[in-house]
């Protein structure tokens, strides 16, 4: 069983599915193929995850083949705790998303399935790449399916939004490309070998002033996709994929920016934290003013993404673990919220929350699910988001109490805008005639949302498996990140000792969770 190239299968199976789809006739068959392939990927992933050894910090299931030898590029993939979790949530979300949009996407169904599968491939590729060139290839390649997904199946003005997104993303990526080439060049200068191996590049000693510019180039690429304020303006038009992008970009920060540019981080990390905190508050305030459910979710995503970035740049165990957990739970809660909203909008053909009201009496099942997703988004203890947010705040508090306090206001604001939305949609009198006839969720829809709810509650109540998977990998990452920073300001080095205290810290987090409840 372990001889199978599991990761390659996970990456490339969707492409096979996409090719298969070209020969499939009819919408229903296309839906089944798309769903079937992504479900198969989930099964493969489950096999992979069950063989994953959490206490090892190094990449596992490593596959390596020479690829473009004259450029020193190899097909080198593997999974550590961080990538396996992010890949896992992708593998889980894909069949659910395809199932959830079963009838919502009614035009050009086959093409939709093709692009969704291609997108899954590129995402998995990004998470599993251990070669920087390969990483960049998947990273850029993702733009193509994404462009079509936003442009064709988006909402009004979606073609413009797709273009806007593409341009934003590409400018960031091109800067990163220049930085990637420069990195390989520097390594070539120092060691006489051309390579894009991440592990090798981590060891490269780069002069601090060069590091600063390279780090900025990488940050530009990732910040656009997170999306961090002020690079967020494409998001409200292209919300569909927001959750996916947050995942990828944050992973880029963790995998590349941290270990590659430790010296530059001394200067940049506080700045990034400040920008992230500003983004949290900004996103929340703008969300407060929205009456369109879709835009509200978009801005709340900007706000939540701020937490993820904040956690990453806290540069300690709690922060980074929290960030990863938050990404996973965001995919579930925001993803669930958005799917639910889409199901509602499909029934009434409007996203305006003023058009609803009193739905509790008409469609109780839907309202119950919406309540769970809403509460998860608010950060209610016992549901998934709380764990991530709490860990991030703990991490940041050790660095800078002020920023932690500012970020925490984001949670309060989240309660305000989310509950306002819920109240307008579900509570109140059933004043609109059109709402009387709305049908409640079908079995398929219930199953999708129930599945998400299950994981939201599980992570909220028992996050230990997640944290244990992450622990060793994050520790290794921090060792890499701080290898050159030993001489940097005192605040930067404390974390290497802190990892020993970790279990205690986590217990505290869980206890706190129970107390608040």
């Amino acid at each position: 069983m372990t001889d199978l190239p599991l990761l390659s299968l996970i990456i490339w199976l969707p492409v096979l599915g996409a090719v298969l789809l070209l020969f499939v006739k009819g919408d229903a068959a296309a839906r089944w193929v798309g769903f079937g392939v992504s479900a198969l990927v989930l099964v493969l992933f489950a096999v992979c995850f069950s063989a994953f050894r959490a206490h090892v910090g190094d990449p596992q299931f490593v596959e390596r083949m020479p690829w473009i030898e004259s450029l020193g590029v190899s097909y080198h993939i593997g999974a550590d705790g961080i990538s396996i979790l992010l890949a896992g949530i992708t593998a889980l979300m894909w069949p659910l998303a395809l199932l959830g949009t079963w009838t919502i996407v009614s035009e050009r169904v086959r093409a939709y399935q093709v692009f969704m599968l291609l997108m899954e491939t590129t995402l998995m590729g990004v998470f599993f790449s251990l070669d920087l060139f390969l990483f960049f290839l998947f990273w850029e390649g993702m733009l193509i399916p994404m462009y079509f997904l936003i442009g064709i199946w988006g909402y009004e003005n979606s073609a413009r939004a797709a273009l806007k997104f593409f341009l934003f993303a590409v400018f960031g990526s091109l800067l990163m490309l220049a930085a990637v080439i420069t990195l390989a060049f520097l390594y070539h200068e120092a060691h006489g070998v051309l390579t894009f191996e991440m592990a090798a590049l981590y060891q490269l000693a780069i002069p601090p002033e060069v590091q600063f510019w390279l780090a900025l180039a990488f940050i530009a690429a990732f910040a656009v996709k997170v999306p961090m304020v002020p690079f967020h303006t494409w998001l409200p038009d292209a919300i569909v994929l927001a959750v996916v992008l947050v995942k990828m970009a944050a992973y880029g920060f963790i995998r590349l920016t941290l270990p590659l540019f430790p010296d530059a981080l001394a200067e940049l990390a506080p700045l990034m934290c400040a920008v992230a905190a500003a983004g949290i508050v900004y996103g929340a305030l703008v969300a407060l003013a929205q009456s369109d459910i879709r835009r509200l979710i978009a801005y709340s995503t900007i706000s939540h993404a701020g937490f993820v970035v904040l956690g990453v740049f806290a540069l300690n165990q709690h922060g980074i673990q929290g960030a990863v957990v938050h990404i996973v739970s965001l995919a579930l809660s925001t993803g669930g919220l958005f799917l639910a909203a889409m199901m509602l909008a499909q029934r009434r053909d409007t996203w305006d929350m003023e058009a609803y009201g009193g739905l509790w009496h008409v469609i109780p099942v839907f309202s119950a699910f919406l309540l769970i997703f809403t509460l998860a988004s608010v950060g209610l203890p016992g549901l998934s988001n709380f764990v991530g947010e709490f860990l991030v705040l703990v991490g940041v508090f050790q660095k800078n109490a002020l920023i932690a306090v500012i970020a925490a206001t984001g949670i309060i604001l989240a309660a305000a805008y989310m509950l306002r939305m819920y109240r307008k949609v579900v509570f109140g009198p059933l004043s609109k005639e059109e709402n009387r006839g709305i049908k409640d969720l079908s079995f398929r829809e219930t199953a999708v949302l129930a599945c998400m709810t299950f994981f939201i509650i599980w992570i909220g109540v028992y996050p230990n498996p997640l944290l244990r998977t992450l622990e060793a990998s994050v520790q290794k990452l921090l060792v890499q990140t701080h290898r050159l920073a030993e001489t940097a300001p005192a605040g930067m080095t404390q974390t290497s000792t802190e990892s020993a205290l970790l279990p205690a810290g986590l217990d505290a987090a869980r206890e706190a969770a129970q107390d608040t409840r």
Partner: protein
């Protein structure tokens, strides 16, 4: 009386001889009306045969045409270039078939001239002497003047031919002037002798002559590759020329000029590097900037592609600065990929035009994604490749090219180039956007015929090649590297 024939080695010029004979055969057979339908396929066959010959000669090391005055040399570099030209010409023939029929320009001369042009390009690539270079250039140019004006009833075609002829004649004049100055400085037109003159001690006067000569040559070659500020003819001529000819013009003739430039700047003029590097850096950036920015506002597809080809010429100028083998190899690789991409893009337009549908502006492409899924898919692949998005060959080419620039120590040039290539996405994506995200406003008039089979074959081949090279570039990279190994 003792008559000593100069010791010449015809084997060294076999590819060129074969191409010229092939063209002549096509020309003669084309005179017979009853063979008209078969001419394109005969041309294809002859081109393929000369390609096979060239492949056989690969790796046999440099063989000079003559020991006393080399004139031309058969080396891997020239052969790889010739192969690229031949491949480009074959694709051009394929996309020409139905187009030429639809516009009733399917005469034997059309294909003969195409092959003559290839033979001229091949001469340019093999030259080691300014004279043979000029000879090749003129064979190419004169064939192109006629080809551009081939649609005699179209005003645009005539206008383009006249424009290209007038400016081309000027460019040739500049090149001749430059040759004269270089001859004055070194006493020879041979590349080697000029290079030796540059390497040795030289007086100020000689230096001035050399500089002037190089400058004038650059003007002439700059015209051929549409380098800013010698680019102004490009959009008008591409727009007016028969679409397959425009495709050929934008790939073949540009590639030939670049190949010459690699030989000249790489092995003849490194001695003047201090002078031409700043000049070409500025011109390259200007070319990239003008091409990309002006392309943003184009709605005519051929003009859009014209400006895009100007921008690509700018990218290909960048690696000259580092003057390394890697740099030259990256240009060769880029040229190969660029030929496939641009022929694909123009090819789509040609195939549509051959069907009788007007295909001039972006609006004509609206809804192509649902009307012609295969054609639209090819166009999308080509556009993403031109934009440099993986997994297409365009990305690999751009990556290799910009790595060479960075390795040469010109990071700032690479960053500027990359940022402008970000700008280029806007207009490439607009094409995709129109095809897939705009419904057709009305059914395009006259679009009833079937798509030409040969044209579609060519297009699918180039799209597949673009994807294949995008995923497995190793072989082609090695070929490009091998080609430049033989350069001195």
């Amino acid at each position: 009386m003792n008559m000593a024939l100069p010791a010449i080695n015809l084997y060294a010029v076999m590819p060129q001889i074969f191409l010229v004979s092939a063209a002549t055969v096509v020309l003669i057979i084309g005179l017979f009306e009853r063979f008209r339908k078969g001419i394109p396929y005969l041309s294809l066959l002859l081109l393929a045969v000369s390609g096979v010959f060239a492949v056989n000669q690969l790796g046999q090391g440099p063989v000079a045409f003559s020991d006393t005055s080399p004139m031309m040399v058969m080396d891997d570099f020239g052969l790889v270039a010739t192969l690229v030209f031949i491949a480009g010409a074959m694709l051009t023939v394929l996309i020409s078939v139905s187009y030429a029929e639809a516009r009733s320009i399917d005469r034997g001369e059309y294909y003969a001239l195409l092959i003559y042009a290839v033979s001229g390009m091949s001469m340019m690539a093999a030259s080691t002497d300014l004279f043979s270079f000029f000879l090749g250039l003129e064979v190419l140019s004169i064939s192109l003047y006629v080809l551009i004006g081939f649609e005699q009833r179209e005003a645009g075609s005539n206008e383009g031919a006249l424009k290209y002829f007038l400016l081309g004649a000027f460019a040739s004049g500049f090149i001749l002037y430059g040759m004269a100055l270089l001859y004055g400085a070194s006493g020879s037109t041979e590349y080697d002798v000029i290079a030796r003159t540059l390497a040795g001690e030289r007086s100020d006067a000689v230096n001035l002559l050399l500089l002037g000569g190089l400058g004038l040559l650059l003007v002439g070659i700059g015209f051929k590759i549409s380098m800013v500020p010698f680019h102004a003819w490009t959009p008008d001529v591409y727009q007016g020329a028969p679409t397959p000819v425009a495709a050929f013009l934008s790939t073949g003739s540009k590639a030939a000029a670049f190949v010459v430039l690699i030989r000249l700047l790489g092995s003849v003029f490194p001695g003047l590097q201090m002078e031409w590097v700043p000049l070409i850096s500025v011109l390259a950036i200007l070319t990239i900037a003008v091409g990309n920015v002006v392309a943003l506002v184009q709605t005519n597809l051929k003009r859009l592609l014209a400006y895009s080809s100007i921008a690509h010429a700018g990218y290909m100028l960048l690696p000259f600065m580092s003057n390394s083998q890697d740099g030259s190899a990256s240009i060769v690789f880029y040229l190969i990929v660029y030929t496939a991409m641009n022929l694909g893009a123009f090819g789509v337009l040609a195939v549509l035009a051959a069907r009788g549908a007007s295909c001039a502006t972006l609006d004509d492409l609206a809804g192509l994604g649902s009307r012609q899924p295969l054609l639209a898919a090819v166009m999308a692949v080509v556009m993403f490749s031109l934009a440099g998005i993986p997994p297409t060959a365009g990305f690999m080419a751009k990556f290799y090219l910009f790595s060479a620039v960075v390795t040469g120590g010109y990071i700032e040039l690479a960053v500027i180039g990359l940022l402008f290539s970000g700008v280029s996405l806007y207009y490439y994506l607009r094409v995709v956007l129109w095809m897939y995200m705009r419904p057709a406003t009305e059914a395009p008039a006259g679009a009833t015929g079937r798509l030409s089979f040969s044209g579609m074959t060519a297009l699918c081949l180039s799209a597949l090649a673009i994807l294949a090279v995008g995923v497995f570039p190793s072989e082609l990279l090695q070929l490009a590297e091998r080609a430049v190994m033989t350069l001195p």
